[in-house]
């Protein structure tokens, strides 16, 4: 909705600036999004008289003018001009220093061939006004000097652009706005003149018949007939008002229907009477497949649920959205039927969406139009055309209004309103505000009960007494509401255990050098392909979105790995080659597809890392991260979550290197997966470095968190440490050797740690050298070598036997 200040001024005195008015309206819930000043760029253009003129000493065509700009300067202002149409005594627009003209010129102090010039005399082009381009714009001799040129050039209007909320359909009209302005400024608006003289002897009801076939979709349909129509241009003032409202002038008849729509908020339509077959207009549902030939000259096939206005032969327009081409007003039109109807907002909204047509009219119907406006607008439109001598008006209005809309009344007390708002507004003030907003207020009894009858233009919005409280609050001003805090029992803030757990995971992972990322909850089949997700995997059962934004996000994600690899890939392509990212977020697994109930939302943790192990520095290692860095992060995370006694096994995962994948398991349940990304997957994502990922399920992890952590007492006696080094086949897992060592370690065995692993030179092929350090400890005494020797011999024997190990000195 946009409207010009001058249109509002036609009906109400406005003695504040446009900006102040915009602020008042905005703070009362009628938000003004933008003010567009017609005089933009003309603020520093002042009317001035040429008091003296002399030839420039160093130029044969330039003149030095001494300008009188009235109150804008005590002294005459010297301006050099090259124009030849200016004479002493002329009054012209003067752009003062600092002016930023509509043509783009910025005026500053300067010298022209050595002579100071403090401004510019302006041509019509430079001011963006009519008047040709030959020289300076010469104003009438009686023009006041020292005033802003915009005022005398007719550029004094301001366009108000409103961003109205969906509940305030009534403010989609000049009438609605002046009502609000009246309440806010205390001025009394006058309302548009509806006094039409029915000067044609014909009776309207003899000329046209109106029917409503579907009262649910059209609750009122009123019409007038205008005869002896002289089609032509609208008067200048009307064109300017329409232009200010963003509406193009077409001809006087169409312009008047648009004008009345903006003024009273009632969309109208004009039909060429002679083109209406059967002289009947019916509001009915379309017949599926019937042709809808609309004003934009497009042929649509009806779907069967649109509301159309039809004559006896054809649909003559999409009701409330766009008229039909055949009954359009043309040069040859002499008799016009004016329609003012009230259409169901839901139906208009649906149709407007489905055919992709949004008009000034459909926007108003969607928000709801006051049903009492049909008669008023027919009278107003007829009156306007009559005033232009463009028609005669037949007797009476044909008004089809099958079910009269009843009024709404709301019972309230001022105490209720004050206690909802936390205010102490006087009862009399509350009643006064409601009355000023056209509510009829009745006192029900002595104890302060009132009944408010809601004006027709607000019945869609104001239905319960709580709505009245908003009316009071917005007119009093939200700034008048005090600040308090709820007084109830004090409560303890808390979050769920799952939230605590996730917070803890985030904190641990950042302490381990990982950066948190956030990615969208979407995916697409290509990403799943790139991840090598098998065709029959449940991860392929991603839920499709009915109306995706682009091809990029047609599905809801089933795994975090896609997002995490895409983010890694984006970083890699930007030459960020040292990357450690993790995310904790839900993935969505449908119970069946297509879904009939909400899917399972499973919170997952995933991470990726690649690049150098240390920061790039003069003294740091240049080693790249490897599988064991990723595994170490998982181990450390599990340890800090007090999850222990898990088994680590070689794993098999579609996106991971078959020889470099590990599952952390509790029994048969996988609690964590870690591995090197499969080279094909890396290639698909454009990453040419080895990368490592880990993935866990938050719910599963939570099951195994160690509870009731207790410390272990420190040993009171020194322990004994023995090292063991051996050569074994390279495919024997170190874990198995450790298990054999601990099994044979005897009663004092404490722990075993692998401290060296070597393959390569000096070691025969197919073998590896391992070295473990074994600690023995007794809680009761200092151990002697003899006490450990036997256990150590057992260990050596077992390892030798079990793994065919070659023990080394």
């Amino acid at each position: 909705m946009q409207v010009s200040l001058n249109w509002l001024r036609d009906y109400i005195d406005i003695d504040c600036s446009a900006e102040e008015l915009a602020e008042k309206l905005t703070m009362a819930g009628i938000p003004v999004e933008n003010l567009i000043r017609e005089d933009a760029g003309l603020e520093k253009v002042i009317t001035g008289r040429v008091e003296k003129m002399e030839k420039h000493p160093d130029s044969d065509h330039m003149w030095i003018c001494q300008m009188n700009v009235g109150k804008f300067s005590e002294n005459l202002v010297q301006i050099v001009t090259g124009a030849q149409n200016v004479h002493e005594g002329d009054i012209v627009p003067v752009a003062m220093v600092g002016a930023d003209l509509p043509c783009g010129k910025k005026i500053s102090k300067g010298k022209l061939r050595g002579v100071a010039s403090n401004g510019m005399l302006c041509s019509p082009d430079e001011l963006n006004v009519e008047g040709g381009h030959d020289g300076i714009l010469i104003l009438p001799r009686d023009t006041e000097i020292g005033i802003q040129a915009g005022k005398i050039l007719g550029k004094d209007d301001v366009i108000f652009e409103f961003e109205l909320t969906a509940n305030r359909g009534d403010c989609f009209s000049v009438e609605g706005l002046i009502r609000e302005i009246g309440v806010l400024t205390g001025k009394n608006p006058k309302y548009p003149d509806l006094n039409v003289v029915e000067d044609d002897s014909d009776s309207t009801q003899d000329l046209i018949k109106i029917e409503i076939a579907d009262p649910d979709l059209c609750s009122r349909f009123s019409a007038r007939v205008l005869k002896n129509v002289k089609l032509g241009e609208s008067p200048e003032w009307m064109k300017r008002r329409l232009e200010g409202a963003g509406i193009r002038s077409i001809n006087n008849v169409v312009d008047v229907t648009n004008f009345v729509m903006v003024e009273l908020g009632q969309p109208m339509h004009a039909y060429d009477y002679d083109q209406i077959a059967g002289k009947i207009l019916t509001a009915r549902k379309s017949v599926k497949g019937e042709q809808l030939h609309t004003l934009d000259d497009s042929n649509r096939l009806a779907k069967g649920d649109e509301l159309v206005i039809a004559d006896s032969e054809k649909a003559a327009g999409l009701a409330g959205i766009m008229g039909g081409l055949e009954t359009e007003i043309t040069e040859s039109t002499t008799t016009v039927v004016l329609e003012a109807a009230n259409f169901n907002s839901t139906s208009i909204r649906r149709t407007s969406r489905s055919v992709g047509l949004h008009s000034e009219a459909s926007g108003r119907f969607e928000r709801g139009v006051d049903i009492s406006k049909t008669i008023k607008s027919l009278d107003r439109a007829a009156k306007l055309l009559q005033d232009m001598n463009a028609c005669t008006v037949t007797r009476g209005i044909v008004d089809c209004y099958p079910v009269k809309k009843s009024e709404t009344s709301i019972d309230f007390t001022c105490d209720k309103i004050n206690s909802r708002l936390g205010t102490q507004i006087d009862e009399s003030k509350i009643i006064e505000i409601l009355k000023s907003l056209d509510f009829v207020v009745e006192n029900l009894d002595e104890d302060g009960s009132y009944r408010a009858i809601v004006p027709m233009h607000r019945i869609n919005d104001v239905k319960v007494w709580e709505d009245l409280s908003e009316e009071i609050a917005r007119i009093v001003g939200y700034d008048q509401i005090p600040s308090t805090l709820p007084f109830g029992d004090s409560t303890q803030g808390h979050q769920s255990e799952q939230q605590d757990f996730i917070d803890k995971i985030r904190s641990i992972l950042t302490s381990l050098g990982m950066c948190e990322e956030l990615s969208f909850g979407f995916t697409n089949p290509e990403t799943l392909d790139k991840l090598q997700v098998p065709g029959d995997s449940y991860l392929r059962n991603a839920i499709p979105i009915m109306n995706p934004l682009t091809d990029e996000f047609p599905l809801v994600r089933t795994t975090l790995l896609g997002g995490i690899l895409e983010n890694a890939s984006r970083n890699f392509s930007r030459k960020n080659e040292d990357v450690r990212l993790f995310e904790v977020a839900p993935v969505f697994h449908p119970k069946s597809l297509p879904i009939t109930e909400l899917p399972r939302e499973i919170w997952k943790l995933a991470g990726i890392l690649f690049g150098r192990r240390d920061r790039v520095a003069w003294n740091s290692s240049k080693d790249e991260l490897d599988f064991f860095d990723a595994k170490g992060i998982v181990e450390e995370l599990l340890s800090q979550l007090s999850i222990s006694n898990y088994q680590v096994e070689r794993g098999d995962h579609f996106a991971l290197h078959p020889g470099r994948t590990a599952f952390f398991k509790k029994g048969r349940e996988i609690i964590a997966t870690v591995g090197e990304v499969h080279p094909n997957v890396l290639k698909s994502f454009g990453i040419s470095k080895r990368a490592f990922i880990f993935e866990m399920d938050i719910e599963i992890l939570r099951k195994y968190i160690g509870k009731n952590f207790k410390y272990e007492s420190l040993p009171k006696f020194p322990g004994i440490v023995r090292d063991i080094a051996m050569l074994v086949d390279e495919n024997i897992p170190a874990l198995e050797i450790e298990q054999i060592i601990s099994k044979n370690g005897g009663k004092f065995f404490q722990e075993v740690t692998l401290f060296d692993l070597y393959q390569g030179k000096q070691i025969s092929e197919g073998k590896k050298s391992l070295a473990f350090t074994i600690k023995f400890q007794s809680p009761e005494k200092t151990l002697t070598d003899e006490e450990v020797d036997e256990s150590f011999r057992n260990i050596l024997a077992a390892v030798e036997k079990k793994f065919n190990a070659e023990l080394r000195g």
């Binding site: 206690s419 803030g493 960020n576």
Partner: protein, 341 residues
């Protein structure tokens, strides 16, 4: 002999004084005080002296010895300190070289901002509630007084999965879910943070997914002024005690009265700048008194209790806090960005 001792002492003291390093000093010690030294042989021959001379010369000899020893010790300390100085000088390093730092990780700025918001409300006694991101039309819209075909649904273009299931467009459905989990008009004081989805093009100020925090307080006697005071407390803790707050009437189907809440511009403190487009105010959240229909639909009696609700965008607050001008940076996950927080 007395003279001889005196001479030995003098030459010893001279030698000590001249000595340049600890090795030299040690050889001086051997030469003058060792078993084969002159003083040692004098001591050895003491026995040959007369009984009267013996104590006297013995004492002289002893005193000379003591004096030399003390000179040696003193010189030793002097030379040791000198040598340490020398050694330290050679160990000098370029202290301007960067130190060795561990790699540390970083929380996402949205998480950091959300954590701060959560903390403020936890301290005010709010619980943190959650709900599903894929939601029913009923909870997302209908239970919030937004029936199908309500024009206000245009405000939130949604990603639909079926006619009845969609990606939630707001965290408000958690309101209805939480209310329905309570009974007997029990008081509620909650916030619900989470991801929400709207069918918006991805640009500097829009994203198909973003983060919201919904707040809801229900109790007997909750007033619009309580909402104002609560949000004032929250915004002052978020943007500093000088932050001012402004309420503007607005429309949401689930609240009545409804308000947009502005905070004085964090960049220019209300003087007007490019961030606030000259107005001095920044739109920060939407709020209002819970509509009686919303209470009724979730089993609360609006005749007994009232409540307020608010919803705020975490990205917006993070952008203002950190001076970020492009929303896409949050979801781009460029490590050069993430590592700054």
């Amino acid at each position: 002999m007395e003279k001889q001792i005196e001479q030995i002492k003098e030459s010893a003291l001279a030698a000590i004084h001249e000595s340049k390093n600890l090795v030299e000093l040690d050889s001086i010690r051997v030469k003058f005080l060792g078993k084969k030294s002159e003083l040692a042989s004098i001591s050895k021959n003491m026995g040959k002296l007369s009984a009267e001379d013996r104590p006297r010369l013995g004492k002289i000899n002893h005193d000379a010895r003591v004096e030399i020893e003390s000179a040696l010790d003193k010189k030793k300390i002097e030379l040791q300190s000198l040598e340490l100085d020398q050694k330290l000088k050679t160990e000098s390093i370029d202290v301007t070289l960067p130190g060795r730092r561990n790699i540390r990780g970083h929380l996402h700025p949205i998480t950091l901002t959300l954590d701060r918001i959560k903390k403020i409300f936890l301290n005010m006694g709010y619980s943190i509630e959650e709900g599903p991101e894929i939601e029913t039309d009923y909870f997302n819209f209908e239970a919030l007084n937004l029936p199908k075909d309500h024009p206000a649904r245009d405000m939130q273009d949604s990603f639909y999965i079926t006619e009845e299931i969609l990606m939630r467009t707001q965290t408000s459905p958690v309101q209805a879910r939480t209310m329905q989990a309570h009974s007997n008009n029990e008081p509620i004081k909650m916030i619900a943070p989470g991801r929400v989805y709207r069918r918006d093009d991805y640009d500097a100020s829009h994203s198909p997914m973003f983060t919201q925090v919904e707040g809801l307080v229900i109790d007997r006697g909750i007033r619009f002024s309580d909402l104002k005071g609560t949000l004032e407390t929250f915004l002052k803790q978020t943007f500093g005690s000088k932050a001012k707050i402004r309420l503007r009437p607005s429309f949401f189907p689930f609240t009545e009265p409804s308000t947009e809440v502005d905070v004085s511009c964090v960049m220019c403190h209300g003087n007007g700048c490019s961030v606030c487009k000259g107005s001095g105010w920044l739109e920060i959240l939407g709020a209002g008194m819970v509509h009686p229909h919303v209470l009724e639909m979730s089993g609360y009696d609006p005749k007994i209790v009232s409540g307020f609700a608010f919803g705020l965008g975490v990205e917006r607050i993070a952008m203002l806090t950190y001076g970020i001008d492009d929303l896409r940076l949050f979801y781009d996950n460029d490590v050069r960005f993430l590592k700054q927080f």
